[in-house]
Symmetry: C2
Subunit: 155 residues, 2 copies
């Protein structure tokens, strides 16, 4: 379906817009994209759960992120979810949508974090909409496969 490009192209354009503001360093770009994602993730999560029953546990909420939320946003489920049952969750997407437009060569590994920051924010925002504070990071070892790590500090 062509219509998914409506979101993907806009996302790429925003990353490249921030890149062009040359006075800004990569960390600032990533932080801005993450914050944007966070606000959008919160709104999306509210939409996607409008007709859902309440979730019983933290794991149920993470599963919602991996299924409904991922499908709604990227048109596919994640490929794997792991947890240490101590508040750390690792989501694997072996063909992450926002990286598939980039060449799979190693030369782009360096710029990959900029294309993942918005999604880290989406996840953090979605979790925040359930009252869960988290730290979400991403890493790419070989394109377009990507791991998102969610850390939920235990109080």
């Amino acid at each position: 379906m062509a219509d998914e490009f409506v979101f993907e192209f806009l996302h790429m354009e925003i990353v490249s817009y921030f890149e062009k503001q040359t006075e800004e360093d990569d960390n600032l770009i990533i932080s801005k994209l993450e914050q944007m994602g966070c606000r959008v993730g919160q709104s999306l999560s509210e939409r996607f759960t409008r007709d859902s029953p309440r979730f019983g546990s933290e794991l149920d909420i993470i599963k919602f992120i991996c299924k409904e939320f991922w499908v709604g946003t990227f048109k596919k489920q994640v490929d794997n979810l792991r947890t240490n049952h101590l508040g750390v969750y690792v989501i694997l997407d072996s063909r992450f949508k926002l990286l598939t437009h980039m060449s799979a060569g190693d030369q782009y590994l360096e710029s990959a974090p900029k294309y993942l920051a918005y999604t880290c924010g989406l996840v953090r925002g979605a979790l925040a909409s359930f009252g869960i504070n988290s730290v979400v990071t991403a890493e790419v070892s070989s394109m377009p496969s990507c791991k998102f790590q969610i850390m939920i500090p235990k109080t």
Copy 2:
């Protein structure tokens, strides 16, 4: 379908991001959004026409914008198309997607142009992908109905 919000919420977030950069005036915000739209419109048009035959005339291209392009981007066709047959086309969308999140009251009429600039750019970019230079403007008289005017200078 909830997934259309993936694009709409990101679009709203960008408008509000530019608004928060308070040193910038409305015209600069509009111009930045329009340019973003233009680059995306060009890419989208190339996607949407990938399997289409060539268009025979300018009017065919405008009709493509009103149908396939609008459906791909906003999940609906435009409601009306008028032309003076001298290079001016007026597209009416009586329920324009990127305005439906705003209250229909007159108090938001003033900020509406910022929510239309990206789409003006999309249309200009799409036309540019066919080698057509144009000036695209938008006006709202009552929300969420919106008119886009395309002017194609005759050389």
